[in-house]
């Protein structure tokens, strides 16, 4: 555990090595990446198991001195960190493996692996950070890694736009985080989590300031985790290669926002207003994204909206003081969503399209992918016995117990939507007739299916670490020796579990009716409520709204400033130059070549001097 700092360094090594020598290694680069992330994974597991028996370990060195203040860098292994280390390194390793098959034949194969290494390094660095500043540093770096990977197909205009959008939207959030963090620094005098919690505990910070900083920090999480209103970049980010979507935009980076809130939970917990904000934003995002997901046609976009929606769930949990529920769902979601993405990638790999309307009947052709996809779908839909069921249940209970009744029902509706659109997806892709000219559809190679199988297993079993039936091991462990995090398990009324089960089954049933059995016309919504459909299909026109407001305003401001630049700033300069020039013209006009004029000027000068002298000197009285 003392050497946990080495975990992020393996992928960094991979990044540097591949950047320098990748070109020569070609596709063998994958092995470098795989071996090094495996090393991280193994060591993470070691650390995790050590953490079960040992207290939190923390080490730091001075990074930068500002006057008397020493900013430090270091690492910390607490429960949450240890858990995150394993999740991140595991998913990363699996994605590394999967990509060997998926990216086969790409000219910039080694670059892809280098970027993956960079991202994994940043993500692992993020989760071991013991202070806000270091968190922020890696927070930005994961953003950069994500940006590079989204724009991996740089020659595609869409990829370029998506990468840019992702970076800028998350940066808006980051600025919030930055401001919040700096304000907090001047309150506490340190970026250390411990110091912050201690200050909060001692009441050294005013309530208003806690709320302000907490919300500002949450803004950072909003950007990173694709919460409303900064969520629009995440679906667009699907322009990146699918393994990337699985790793970054499903399992790890987007969960960083949730992680951040969780890591700073004692701060948030100290402000009811902040918690409420988080809960509302989370619930709203959950339902909003889920409703958009209902009508999307791109397989990855559906998954992306589902990610947004699930992240909303996690936020809702945290906002409802359900620390364990949020982290738990973060974990299970990482597995099943990564699984779904990898499976989707496998599908895309097979049929070379992402439009679900061009798919269908793949159940028979993709014998391995299809069941795995189904597992993921069941998990996310919250069908009992799958991991998602337990974690979602925890969330609903937390919400209810915390008293957010309205948000609770929103979450329930969102769960219904989730079940519906996920099965809509499943049915459209795997059942029915093959709709397009898919001539040769092959199952993916084992290097791709192996990770899926691992995730599939986890998607089923991961939920059992924290169940009301077999014990809340995870929850108890997570909150051990820290009262601020709340209880390991929150007891809730039993009917919640039933409601959750019922709505998810209802959703599945409805999806089956429409897309499986086809007893309801598929264009039912389109025909009956074209307006609603269009609004949903166009994602509530949020992008367009931004285009009209923020972007227009920016452009307008730019135009005003460039007017100032051209006419006022430059104009003044021109004016001064013009005056000097004009004086020159007048002067040289007076210099008319007439010698008598010269004498006259001299005489007039003399006369003026004498007159003024006489007047001012008081000699003429």
């Amino acid at each position: 555990m003392e050497n946990a700092w080495i975990i992020p360094l393996f992928p960094l090594l991979s990044f540097l090595f591949l950047l320098l020598f990748g070109r020569r290694l070609k596709e063998n680069s994958a092995y470098i990446g795989m071996v090094l992330t495996l090393a991280s994974l193994v060591y993470s597991l070691v650390v995790l198991f050590e953490r079960f028996n040992h207290p939190t370990y923390k080490a730091e060195v001075t990074w930068l001195t500002i006057g008397d203040v020493q900013l430090t860098a270091g690492f910390e292994v607490n429960q949450l960190n240890a858990l995150m280390l394993v999740i991140v390194s595991l998913v990363s390793f699996l994605v590394h493996t999967y990509s060997k098959g998926y990216m086969h034949g790409d000219g910039r194969f080694h670059i892809f692996y280098a970027y993956l290494g960079l991202f994994t390094f940043a993500m692992l660095g993020l989760v071991v950070s013991p202070n806000l500043l270091q968190t922020y540093i890696f927070w930005e770096l994961v953003g950069a890694g994500s940006f590079l990977l989204i724009g991996f197909y740089f020659y595609k205009e869409e990829a370029k736009a998506a990468a840019k959008k992702a970076f800028i939207m998350t940066r808006i959030g980051d600025v919030g985080l930055l401001i919040g963090m700096i304000l907090l620094f001047w309150q506490v005098g340190s970026f250390e989590y411990d110091a912050i919690f201690q200050a909060v505990d001692e009441g050294a910070i005013s309530a208003g300031m806690i709320t302000l900083t907490a919300i500002l920090i949450f803004v950072g999480a909003v950007g990173k985790s694709g919460q409303f209103p900064l969520h629009t970049w995440l679906p667009d980010a699907m322009e990146g290669p699918t393994p990337v979507s699985a790793l970054i935009h499903a399992a790890t980076m987007v969960a960083a926002g949730v992680y951040l809130v969780a890591a700073l939970f004692p701060l948030f917990a100290a402000s009811e207003a902040a918690l409420m904000t988080i809960a509302i934003i989370g619930a709203f995002t959950a339902i909003l994204a889920a409703s958009i997901g209902l009508v999307q046609k791109d397989i990855k976009r559906v998954l992306a909206y589902s990610t947004v929606s699930q992240l909303g769930y996690m936020m809702l949990a945290l906002g409802s003081a359900g620390y364990v529920a949020g982290v738990f769902h973060l974990m299970t979601h990482a597995f099943f969503k990564a699984l779904l993405f990898l499976a989707a990638g496998s599908v895309i790999h097979a049929v070379h399209t992402q439009n679900i309307e061009e798919m269908g009947g793949l159940w028979k052709k993709l014998k391995l992918t299809a069941p795995l996809f189904l597992i993921g779908t069941l998990a996310i839909s919250g069908v009992p016995l799958f991991s998602g069921f337990f974690s979602k249940d925890e969330i609903l209970i937390s919400t209810w117990v915390h008293g957010n009744t309205f948000l609770f029902w929103l979450a329930v509706i969102a769960a219904f939507f989730t079940a519906f659109y996920m099965f809509r997806l499943f049915f459209m892709v795997f059942t029915g007739d093959a709709r397009s000219k898919q001539k040769e559809v092959h199952e993916s190679p084992s290097v791709m299916t192996f990770p899926m199988i691992v995730l599939g297993i986890l998607a089923i079993v991961a939920g059992y670490v924290n169940t009301p039936w077999f014990g809340t091991f995870l929850g108890d462990w997570l909150v051990a020796d820290n009262e601020a995090l709340g209880h390991g398990h929150i007891e809730g009324p039993a009917w919640i579990m039933i409601v959750a089960t019922v709505v998810s089954l209802l959703g599945i049933y409805l999806a089956w009716l429409i897309y499986g059995k086809k007893s309801i016309q598929r264009d039912w919504l389109t025909v009956r409520m074209p307006l609603t459909y269009n609004v949903l299909y166009n994602k509530y026109y949020i992008d367009e709204f931004y285009q009209l407001t923020v972007v227009k305003a920016t452009k307008g401001l730019t135009a005003i400033l460039s007017f100032i630049e051209t006419f006022i700033v430059e104009g003044l300069v021109k004016l001064v130059a013009g005056i000097v020039h004009g004086l020159g013209i007048i002067g040289s006009k007076i210099q008319n070549g007439q010698v008598q004029a010269y004498g006259t000027v001299a005489f007039v000068g003399l006369a003026v001097l004498i007159v003024i002298f006489a007047l001012t000197g008081g000699y003429l009285k």
Binding site: L64, I66, G67, L141, F167, L178, T554, I568
Partner: protein, 501 residues
């Protein structure tokens, strides 16, 4: 040896000038090699001093009597010594100057004509820049300051692009006015106290109604500080005194812009810190708010206008304005974090803009354009160039792990303590910076290829050196900022002591 160390360091490029003067003007390769080699002694010596640590800088001081006006030897007044010295801050800037000069000399491989004259002026410019930072009295400072101006005028006017003469004149007049104001300040100080030495002046100014040759009212001190602000505001540049540097950025040859943007602009910041804060700390406090506001205005103004430009060089020019805003923000904060941030930004921006302009030179050499729209999809034909360009842009927009972040962070950290609301407004600049840089860089490197990149070669061997060296330094500072903050420590303490905080 120690006594003459600094003099040798500062004047070592003159050796190169002497050698060049004796060379026939047609031998391109030999001239370029000599020009490059002539920058090395300064670099080596600067690094020696840097590695030697910042605790023993006093030993490099040199003081030789030089000019004495009037007949006041008895009172030891009105004398201008030849005195050079170092403190942590100037040492850092000297190292920066030496490094960027060497790299710019390499970047000068792209120069097409009259290499001999070019390198002679180039080396003279280097002498001026090194001297500016090493000088220990105002007049010597001013002399070196002006020495930078003349070679720059020629370098822009002769080796620049289409509107080079206009740019050269712009440069000359604005900087002429700036240095004119500076000269007045210097001469008021010198004439009325009889000394131009920094430390002596700082001591005299610290005392109210000090015993000077001619009286010094508080109003006068304040006026002098404002004049200093304007003088260095031209150099930095501060809105609305910035238009000249846009032309220079666009018209001057990239190697020269590396120096201009990398170092010359920094003299403004150096002056504000060294003289503004050093000599008039009391008055400086009262304009801190003004500085911070100007900083935010600079930051936002530059950023928004950079967003609109179609020429990448213009983007970088406005970006320089924007980034210098951060320096002002740091100075306006007037606390350790802010000032350290400002100094970091000075160094960091020097490296980053040198890197970016070097790359501009690289692709301009190949495509003869720097218009963003004409360069789309460069990553396809020149992946390395595009990659470094992207890295440079990320550094510039303050990605952690690179130097830009550390400085930006500290500057804002400082300002948030003093003026949180203003700082929050300034933070919008961080977003816009990302917006315009990505727009420009992605516009050039990503997307569909607009032109045929087949016949175009990527970075060549010699071009790697500056790119890699600069990027390495940028990352070094970003990852291990103590490399910069340690030498600055004592200087900052002195400044803070002067500010009484």
């Amino acid at each position: 040896m120690n006594e003459y160390f600094l003099s040798i360091l500062v004047f070592s490029p003159l050796l190169g000038i002497a050698v060049l003067a004796l060379m026939p003007k047609t031998q391109e390769v030999a001239i370029k090699t000599v020009g490059f080699l002539a920058t090395l002694p300064a670099l080596v010596l600067a690094l020696v001093a840097f590695i030697g640590g910042s605790d023993h800088l006093k030993k490099y001081d040199i003081q030789i009597e030089w000019i004495r006006f009037g007949d006041y030897e008895v009172f030891d007044l009105f004398k201008i010594d030849y005195e050079l010295g170092l403190n942590g801050f100037s040492l850092v800037l000297i190292v920066l100057t030496a490094v960027i000069s060497t790299l710019a000399a390499i970047a000068s491989v792209h120069i097409k004509k009259e290499w001999k004259g070019y390198f002679m002026l180039f080396l003279l410019l280097e002498v001026g820049m090194l001297g500016v930072f090493a000088a220990q009295n105002l007049i010597l400072f001013f002399i070196f300051f002006e020495i930078t101006m003349i070679p720059m005028f020629f370098l822009i006017g002769k080796w620049g692009y289409f509107e080079k003469e206009k740019a050269a004149y712009s440069y000359l007049i604005y900087n002429g006015l700036g240095s004119a104001i500076l000269l007045i300040v210097i001469m008021v100080l010198f004439a009325r106290t009889g000394t131009a030495n920094y430390d002596a002046l700082a001591q005299l100014m610290a005392v109210e109604n000090a015993n000077t040759v001619a009286p010094f009212s508080e109003t006068l001190k304040f006026g002098l500080l404002i004049a200093l602000l304007i003088a260095f505001g031209v150099k930095l540049p501060i809105f609305p005194l910035h238009t000249w540097m846009l032309r220079v950025h666009v018209q001057a040859p990239p190697a020269i812009v590396m120096l201009h943007s990398g170092i010359l602009l920094k003299i403004g910041a150096f002056g504000l810190i060294r003289f503004g804060m050093g000599i008039f700390p009391e008055q400086f406090k009262s304009i801190a708010v003004l500085l911070a506001v100007l900083g935010v205005v600079n930051l936002l103004y530059g950023a928004f206008l950079a967003f609109k430009q179609s020429d990448f060089k213009m983007v970088l020019a406005y970006s320089s304005i924007s980034h210098m805003g951060i320096v002002l923000i740091g100075l306006g904060a007037l606390n350790e974090a802010g000032i350290q941030g400002a100094i970091f930004q000075v160094v960091s921006h020097g490296l980053i803009s040198a890197l970016l302009f070097f790359l501009v030179g690289v692709f301009y050499e190949r495509f003869h354009t720097s218009t963003i729209a004409n360069l789309g999809g460069m990553a396809k034909g020149m992946p390395l160039t595009a990659g470094f360009l992207l890295a440079g842009a990320l550094a510039s927009l303050g990605l952690p792990g690179m130097s830009g972040f550390v400085s930006e962070f500290m500057a804002f950290l400082g300002l948030f303590e003093e003026m949180p609301i203003l700082a929050a407004i300034g933070c919008i600049g961080i977003i816009i910076t990302a917006v315009y840089l990505l727009r420009a860089v992605l516009g050039m490197t990503y997307g569909k290829a607009n032109r045929d990149f087949i016949a175009v070669s990527d970075l060549k061997s010699v071009e790697f050196i500056p790119v890699v060296a600069l990027l390495a330094l940028i990352i070094l500072i970003g990852v291990y900022p103590s490399v910069l903050s340690d030498p600055l420590h004592s200087t900052l303490e002195t400044i803070m002591l002067g500010l009484g905080g």
